[in-house]
Every structure is written in structure tokens, then in C-alpha cells.
Symmetry: C2
Subunit: 646 residues, 2 copies
């Protein structure tokens, strides 16, 4: 309720949208970062003519409703899923960034086709979260002038007065980040003040703006200003007095006065008209700039250019051993030009994770032409993994972009909150996660992932690729780019990997396949990434002892699990014991193997060859365990681990 | 090299320590948050007489050495493991917080026994990380005057000039957080300026201080000031000119001039003397305050008071159904007085996760007596999960404390970086993770953990408890508190859970046990937490159909895995198919079961009973799957999933 006046002013007088076409590309974006206040958002969407019905409002937080306890982006008018605090404001940074890049790329004099604002409301909780700090510092650096954020300063979190933990000077902090700051001292009633503040913010074009709106939580309730109204429903008598106070009939629920409907209908009408104007402008633009227009239209539809995948490199065994981070760089360099929707970046570490194709420009504020401008397609995120993840979610939500971002695999975990929301929200986001194991060597246990793949593989709707060579790296990118509803993490080695006999983009694109065939094998070894070639060498060791072994490469569980059962059983057949081999936690591998070889402890610092030897991830070490597995299961009926009782 | 002058001044003239007893309780704490600069730390430790030899330095980053690529806290003189950026400075906040609480609790006029400073060095990378933002804002709020941090302002990260992504005004931002700020403009040569700055910072007692020390990375190298010196070694000719420039013989390596040894020996001697003085003060204090002294001594040794565990509540089936978050509150209330080393807190949500025992004081700055003071034992962390995790690591590293912190289980993931370091560093930290499943109901998929347990169970050395009732909740706390080398996450329900027949603190303390025995069972159901009682009811459903079933409760995999194999096989015996049932990702459960029932998708918003029904986590739903499992394996030789080939 404290936010209702702001919501009214913003939706009524500023926000540019057409509720009949909520995905209109010219719309302003609105993000409610404090997603627990979603009643406000759902109500505004209903009042302003979106396809959100009174029944939807009545079914708030009920099973099967379209109005869950926190807003999800599958509801029209909800740009991004929010609730986990700090994410929404960081998404807003991504939305604003995307707008500025697309505008710089496509607008022409007289054709400000891409020209929308991103508005966001955030609360104290968001401001306390580190992810917001990272993204807001970046937004200041990037001078995102069309980002206008409202700080809902209501002094209350669930723990009571924010003063118990939060006494910083928020506006000063944002100033330090390079934001323009405005304060509306009475957000409860000063509609003119809110209006003036937004107008001022729109005039500031070289800085993001924050408008601190001091409100009273639960304004009008007997309990206004207390944390009792944060999560809990109001009592009956309080609702009665509240309705009377604002001129409503306390006997009636879910009734909207005719004046309100009529007033808001004007806004709706104006929005529809603006879309017509925008479409007309696009038509004219199409005549003057037909190629640009068709490119823009294609990207806004989310369609890939025909034949882009022909640029993906393929390899044969005569090619040299190459680190998969380097193979990834080659892919990116090869496809960057044909896929202008790709917008890259890295949380520092660019020189290590090789995420920057050569001869491209940075995305940087236009005021700084030396290092790039807003047409640039490489974002310097700084050491801000969580912020990068959430900003990428915002870029993806804008549409017309496929963002990728690099860091060490171990530090994707810093961004776990954002990764989870990518998957829940079906954002088309790609993590380039290099230095993906103990193979990073000297940096040691603090940087060597162990639990990381078990974590990410357990997130629904997330591709987690760990390619073994060049062809598999191309396959990983092929699926990451074509499967637009599932985000990806592509895990890449620091160390060189040989090109494997039997690998291909096509086979690897199934998520898993038989790499080394064996007739009547005694044992199969299933592996991923940098351990696959060692498993292949282990097969040779085993052959010396008369043990027949084959190798399965399983670069992405998620993709493999979507293959027909018949195919999957051809890869993991009945009758053969299977050993998994990966230099990480064995957790999860039991679903694909009878016996597991992994590292269920933290790693070790040293040259990577020494570290691999220490953990016995050598041809001999794997062969020894494969032999033990074959012997253990000898004479037993062995069924494929893929069989299920239900 | 850029930091060498600061390191020299700090260790030589300010840092209070005795290298011959690196764990002396009266020592100042030093944290190198930019852990990649650990050559500096290792060198200082060697030069100042710690048990770090020249051979240790020569074996830097080699397998089996004591000097890994990033410093780990098992080396003397390394207070906390650093390297993952942002963690160290947040740990430093915890170290300073612990000091202030212990001082307020134990010091008496004339007996400033607890009176140490916490010094930390952090770089641009740390400052960009959200975890640092969270912790530093909290430090400002808490007015931690004895925290003195140095901002190594060298303009360089791996990506080159920090200006590519980081143009905020760091000191202004820290001022906004409530810090005292000082700038030493020439950190390369102005030793007097550094000295004066530290002296000034020590005088400011009601604010943490930051000293920005502008340095040149790789000072003295031909490549000074460039990112080429960030990670890579210097070239030979550069080393020669560098050594000549500073008056060393370029032909000699690992040689320490006699003057240096003699100069630093004075510091070492003075440190040893200060420890003697401190021990004398403690002796006197022991005579005047014998009870306090014995309590302090006990806590500094990390010993638990005898018999504390008798306070743990036990339950029988006649006790009512209670949510495990509420059972947790009862445990905390019961043990809080007998375990003064417990220092609680929550990332907001106190009223939801019930982490605050009644009638206790908040830990708050003494300037704010209304809400608590430094003797308080409940920390209002604010909505800062990652910061809380890293601050708890610092508190634990100080010694004399067992910190616990609450949030929703789903948001422990925000702190993944800190949780991993708790486990790697053996910090005695407890997460109270409530609302641990779809059972939180209406808040919906954004708040319902799915992958979370698969993630945390895969972290080595981490207890992940999910108790099923009152006795199991007491067991979880018993193990979390007595197993001082393994941090814990205790996962607790929002919804009520009945007290189970057959549960006990003793049995549950093994991590897993047979809850419902069955003679010649057709199937066993293994489950955790809020699903266990449903599994017990499923057994009754199965009995109606003549199917004999038993139930295994497995509240903590980590603890269970440490039991003797004989015991473990008695719980997971041969000859019976086992079904797992838990409302999360099934990933990992294959290690304990032949068939899995879980939720490999995101959750749903609604009243929790509806959501459980929707996912068929009902007695009937589990029974149906148990029956299918029994039928599937009928007539087959079924071996315990615990058997291994090696």
C-alpha cells in the first residue's frame, strides 16, 4: 500500500506500454525488485488492462494460479521473475544495458526506434544484497541514463526497523557509484513530487537515477509503519477502517470504481496508439534501411540467422591438442560476426577465460570513446559474478540478445542465485566457465571446483556442458545457442586436450554418446571433459590385460536426458558394468554408472600434471578402477543404471 | 611488490603477534583478502620468524607444499583462507566483531585482556564483490572501531586498468557505510604516511577505518603498473634490474640480508614479551575473577562445558506435532545459556526462522543501548546472506565462539562461496536453514529449494542435517556443536511435523538409522526431514496391500558416511529394494537407493498441503511408488547400494 501512489503515477503518467500486446518491443520495462510486494504489481496489471483477471487476483498464492507468491515472468506484464532480493534491480541494469546497445546499433537520425526507459522499484532488502551492489556499481560506470530506480524507503524489513542492521546512507552510496540521486520525502501523498522527480530523472541522460521515495509501509492501516504489515494479512477491522478512510465501501471486495476504470482506460488507449506510431516508424525505417530493419525484426523475434551453425569449427585427430577454453575462444571468434545478438563479457579474467573475440569493441559509455562505445559487444563486468549473472538475465529478458559471460567455474557458484533464476525463467544465458577442475593447477583448492557440477546439474532446465575436445565444444555452443529456453554453463579446461577419434558435433549434440565402441565389453567408462581422453588411454591399458572396455562421453546430462530412452539405452546398455570418471564429487554419477571414480575431498595446489597424478586420474589409475569394476560385477546380472521402476 | 612497504610497516611497527605461538589469543589478526598476493604474506611470515621456511617459499604452488596458490588457514600465521575475492575482508569483519563481543563480555577495568586489532588488506577485486559490500556495510553499522582495512589501490585487475569496469568513488562509498576514511597517496615510498594513517585509524574508536594506499603494482619492475605483473612471473632481465635497483645481488636468490634479519628479530622479541605480559595479566585476572577467567580459558581452548548436551530436549510420540524451525528455536533457547560461545543471528527473517532465543540482547554498537550492546549475542545481519556466511567464518576463526546464522534454505545458496570456505577451512559454523522445501508453500518456486541439498551434500566436510522431528533436531544440534571441524547446515521445516515413534537423539546422531523395522521387508523407504512421517504413513498404506515395508531416516549423509560399514549395511541391507523419498532433486540419492522419488523441476506456489498433494508426496503417493519399486525388483538379486567395487 505504501507503494500504491508511486505505482499509480508511474503506470498512469510515465510507463509506456500496450497491455494488449505486452511484448511490444517499444515498451518501457518495469521491474518490481521487491517481489514480495507483487500484490501491487498484479493489481496494476489488472487495472491497466493486462490479461490479469479479478479471479487471478482472488487466487493469489493458490496452487495452479497465475499469481504466485512472487511474480514470475511467464505472466504478461512481468518482465523478470523477482522475489529473491537484489535480483530485480540487477536485472533492470541488464534491461537498460540492452536498450542502450540496441539503440546505438539500430537507431538512425529521426528513427529512435529503440528508445525505452527501464523503471525499477527496490527496497531496503535489495539494497542490502551484494548482487545489487555489484550491478548498481556497474550501472554507474556504464552511465545508463535511461535506468530510473525507485528506492522504497519504508524503514521496515521482516526484522523490524531497518535501523537494526542498515544505517548506511543509501543515496550517498549510490552517488559514489555514479548515480544521480533525488529524494521525495513524502511518498505517501506527494504525487506531484513523485512526478517532478521522474521528470528530473528523465532529463539526466548520462547517469542512472535513483529516486528515494520515503513511504510508510501499510500506509492507511492501523499498523502502518510496522513490520507486522510486511508479510502478514491485515485484520478485518483494520481493513474496514482502511477502506472507509479511502472512500470505499467496506462491505465490498474486489470492486473497482468506475472512475478508476475510466481514468486508466485513457492510459491504455494512449499506449495502443503509441504502438501504432512505433509500427509506422518501423515501416518507414524498413524502407530507408531495409537490411537493418530485417535484422532488427529477426532479432526481436528471437530467430537465429539461417546457417549460422556452419561457422562452428570441426576438428579431426590430426589437429593439435588445445585447451577447451581456447577452443571456446575459437568458436566465439568464428560465430561472433554472424550472430550479432551475442553480447559477451567476463567478470574480470578476460585474458584467462578467453571470452573476448579479437578485434571487437568493448561496450562502454559513449563518453569514453577510447575504450569502446554503446555499440560494443563485450562487457567488462568487473569482479562481479553474481551481478553479471543477474545482468545477463536482464539482457536476455530484454530480447534480441544472447548474453554470455565468463568466469572460473568455481566462481559461477558466487552467482548461484542468478543461475537458478535463469533456469526458472527460461532465460537464454550462457556461462563460459573456464578453469573447470583441479586441472587449473597451482591456484589450488580455493579455486578448484568439487561440488560445483553436482550443484548445477541438479538445477532443473539448466544445460551443464563439459566438452572433451573441439567437436564437443562446438556442440556445446550449438545447443547453448539453439536451445533458447534453457540457459547453459559451458565448463572448459585450462589444460590442453587432444582431439578425439570418434567425436563429432552431431553426436555430442545429443548430450552423450558412445565414443569408443567395444564388442562384448567387460566394462564401460563414462566420463566428461578433460578426463575423456584419459579414459580413452585407459582402454588401451586395459587391452594389455585382455580387458575389453569402451568409453561413453557424456558432456551434458540435461540434453542427454531428453533423448529417447531407446537411444539412451544404446549408450548405457544392459549387461555391462559402468564406471564413471570425473575429477569432482561423484554425487549424481550413480544415475549413470555402477561404480564411481571422483574426488570427494577438496583439491590440491600444484602443476596440473602432478595434481592429476596425485589423484590417480591417469590412464593407469582409471584402468585399475575399471578392472576392479569389471571383476566385481563378473558373473552378476548387470542392468543399465537408466532403468527405472517408475 | 606494491604492497611490500605497507606489509613492512604493518608487521614491523603495528601488528602484535608472537610467531613462536601463532595462536596466542591476544594477537592482532591480519587478513590478506587479495589472497593471490600471498607471496607477500608467506614472505612476511618467513621474515618475521613464523614456522615458514625458505624451502616452503621455494616450493610455492607445488604439490604437497605448505604454500599453495592461495593461503589456507592450516598454515601458521594465516588466520583465514583467502583467494576467492571479497571473502577475506568479510572474514575480517567477523574477526573484529568477535573481538568486540569477547572484550565487552570479559574485560574489566584494568584488565583489557581482549584488546586486539584486526587488520586487512583488500584490493579492487574484493571491493567489486557483493560479499564485501554486505559485510562492510554491516561493519559500519556495528561501528567496529578496531577494524582497520587497507585498500590496495593499484588500478589493476587481470582485465587491465580497473577503469574498464570500476569507476566508483570507493572512499565515498565506504563513508556512506559509516567508515572513517584516509588516503595515503604514495604507498610505494611514503612509509611515514602509512604509519601516520594507521595511528590516525587507531584513534577512531567508533568507526571502522579504511586506508586507501595508492600503489603501483609490481613496483620497481619494468612492467610496473601494468596487468602483466598481476598473475605472471617477471622476466629474468627484469628481475636482475629490480634487484640491482633495491641493492640486492642479482646473482643470488632467496637470500635475506643480515640487517633485515636483525631488524625484524626485534619485532619478534617484542611480540614474545607482549605475550608474557598478557599471560601475567591473565594470571592476575584469574585471581580477581576466577569464574570469568576459567570460562574465558575454556572458550579460548575451544572446549565445550561439561554436560551441556543434557539441555537438549527430547520428545516422545505423545508430544504434539511441531515445525522443525520451532523445534530448533526450542533447542537454541534451551542451550543458549549453557553455551555462551553460541552467537546467533539471522539475515533478516528472524521472526520466520525463529533463531532468536527469547529474552536475549542484540549485539549492537554500545552507542545504541536501546537495542542492545556489544555483550549481546544476537546479530542482525540484515538481508545479507553471503556477508553473514563470511562474517560467521571470521567469528569462528577468531576462536571462543560458535556462530550460527539463519535464513531460508534456498538463500543459503546466495552464500555458496562462504559455505564452501567454511568447509575447506574447517570453520565451526552453523546455518539454521528454515523453510527448507516446497513445504514453505505460498512463497512459491522462487523460494523453494530443489537443487540445494544436492549442492551442499556434495561439498566435502559439510554436515547437511534435515531432521524429521524433535529428537532428530536435537541430534542435529548435538553433532553440529560437537563436531567442531565440520560446519553444518540444519534444514528445518516451516510446517508442523509429528514426533516419530522410534526416533532418538542417539540414533539420529549416527546420521542415519532404521526408523521403522520390518521383518523380511519387500521394500525400504529412505527419507529425510518433513517427508519421513509421510513415509511412515505410507508403510501403513502398503500394509493394507500386504506389502511389508520399513523406513530409514537419513538426516545427515556426511555423518552417516563416517559410521562403520557394518553399521551402514545394517541400515541399508542386501536383499531389499530401497526407494528414496524427498521433495527435492533426486540427484545423489542413487547412492542410497535403487529407485528415487523426488522433484526434478521447480516447485509451485500454494498452501503447502496442496503443493505436497500436487507432487503426490502423500502416504498414498509414496506407497504407490514403493509398491512399484518392490514389484520391479521382485525375483531379482538386490544388493545394497552401499557396496563398492573399490
Amino acid at each position: 500500500m505504501g507503494l500504491a501512489p508511486l505505482g499509480h503515477v508511474l503506470f498512469k503518467n510515465f510507463l509506456n506500454f500496450n497491455p494488449k500486446n505486452p511484448k511490444w518491443a517499444g515498451r518501457d520495462r518495469f521491474v518490481l525488485s521487491n517481489g514480495h510486494a507483487c500484490v501491487l504489481l498484479y493489481s496494476l496489471l489488472h487495472l491497466f488492462g493486462y490479461d490479469v483477471t479479478l479471479d487471478d487476483l482472488k487466487n493469489f498464492r493458490q496452487l495452479g494460479s497465475r499469481t504466485p507468491g512472487h511474480p514470475e515472468n511467464d505472466l504478461c506484464g512481468v518482465e523478470v521473475t523477482t522475489g529473491p532480493l537484489g535480483q530485480g534491480i540487477a536485472n533492470a541494469v541488464g534491461l537498460a544495458l540492452a536498450e542502450s546497445q540496441l539503440a546505438a546499433t539500430f537507431n538512425k537520425p529521426g528513427y529512435d526506434l529503440i528508445d525505452n526507459y527501464t523503471y525499477a522499484i527496490f527496497g531496503d532488502g535489495c539494497m542490502q544484497e551484494g548482487v545489487a551492489s555489484e550491478a548498481m556499481s556497474l550501472a554507474g560506470h556504464l552511465k545508463l541514463g535511461k535506468l530510473i530506480a525507485f528506492y522504497d524507503d519504508n524503514h521496515i524489513t521482516i526484522d523490524g526497523d531497518t535501523n537494526v542492521s542498515f544505517t548506511e546512507d543509501v543515496l550517498k552510496r549510490l552517488e559514489a557509484y555514479g548515480w544521480h540521486t533525488i529524494w521525495v520525502k513524502d511518498g505517501n501523498t506527494d504525487l506531484a513530487g513523485i512526478t517532478a522527480a521522474i521528470e528530473e530523472a528523465k532529463k539526466v541522460t548520462d547517469k542512472p537515477s535513483v529516486i528515494k521515495v520515503t513511504t510508510t509501509i501499510g500506509y492507511g492501516s492501523k499498523q502502518q509503519g510496522t513490520h507486522s504489515v510486511h508479510g502478514a494479512a491485515l485484520k478485518k477491522d483494520d481493513i474496514v477502517q482502511l477502506k472507509e478512510q479511502f472512500g470505499f465501501d467496506p462491505e465490498q471486495n474486489f470492486v473497482i470504481p468506475k472512475e478508476v476504470t475510466e481514468l486508466y482506460a485513457q492510459t491504455v488507449k494512449a499506449g495502443a496508439e503509441r504502438e501504432v506510431e512505433w509500427n509506422n516508424l518501423l515501416s518507414k525505417y524498413s524502407k530507408e534501411f531495409p537490411e537493418l530493419a530485417s535484422e532488427l525484426t529477426r532479432r526481436l523475434k528471437g530467430e537465429l540467422p539461417a546457417g549460422w551453425e556452419k561457422k562452428l569449427p570441426t576438428y579431426s585427430t590430426s589437429d593439435p591438442a588445445i585447451a577447451s577454453r581456447k577452443l571456446s575462444e575459437t568458436v566465439l571468434t568464428d560465430i561472433f560476426e554472424v550472430l550479432p545478438e551475442l553480447i559477451g563479457g567476463s567478470a574480470d579474467l578476460t585474458g584467462s577465460n578467453l571470452t573476448r573475440p579479437k578485434d571487437i569493441n568493448d561496450y562502454q559509455p559513449t563518453q569514453d570513446p577510447a575504450s569502446g562505445d554503446y555499440t560494443g559487444r563485450y562487457i567488462r563486468y568487473g569482479v562481479r559474478e553474481h551481478g553479471m549473472g543477474a545482468v545477463m538475465n536482464g539482457i536476455a529478458a530484454y530480447g534480441a540478445f544472447i548474453p554470455y559471460g565468463g568466469t572460473f567455474l568455481n566462481f559461477v557458484s558466487y552467482a548461484a542465485g542468478a543461475v537458478r533464476l535463469s533456469a526458472l525463467s527460461h532465460h537464454h544465458v550462457i556461462w563460459v566457465a573456464t578453469h573447470d577442475s583441479i586441472g587449473l593447477g597451482e591456484d589450488g583448492p580455493t579455486h578448484q571446483p568439487i561440488e560445483t557440477l553436482a550443484h548445477f546439474r541438479a538445477i532443473p532446465n539448466l544445460q551443464v556442458w563439459r566438452p572433451a575436445d573441439g567437436n564437443e565444444t562446438s556442440a556445446a555452443y550449438f545447443k547453448a545457442i539453439t536451445n533458447s529456453h534453457s540457459p547453459s554453463i559451458i565448463c572448459l579446461s585450462r589444460q590442453n586436450l587432444p582431439q578425439l577419434e570418434g567425436s563429432s558435433v552431431e553426436k555430442a549434440s545429443k548430450g552423450g554418446y558412445t565414443l569408443v565402441e567395444a564388442e562384448n565389453p567387460d566394462v564401460l567408462i563414462v566420463s566428461t571433459g578433460s578426463e575423456v581422453y584419459i579414459a580413452v588411454d585407459a582402454v588401451k591399458e586395459l587391452a594389455k590385460e585382455g580387458i575389453k572396455a569402451g568409453v561413453i562421453s557424456l558432456p551434458d546430462w540435461h540434453t542427454f536426458n531428453q533423448q529417447p530412452q531407446e537411444y539412451r539405452l544404446s549408450v548405457f546398455p544392459d549387461g555391462v558394468p559402468i564406471l564413471s570418471a570425473e575429477v569432482m564429487s561423484t554425487s549424481g554419477w550413480q544415475a549413470y554408472s555402477h561404480q564411481q571414480f571422483g574426488i570427494n575431498r577438496f583439491g590440491a595446489s600444484g602443476p596440473y600434471q602432478d595434481v592429476y597424478k596425485y589423484f590417480e586420474f591417469t590412464p593407469e589409475g582409471i584402468a585399475k578402477r575399471a578392472k576392479a569394476t569389471a571383476e566385481y560385477y563378473k558373473g552378476q546380472t548387470v542392468k543399465s543404471p537408466l532403468h527405472k521402476a517408475f
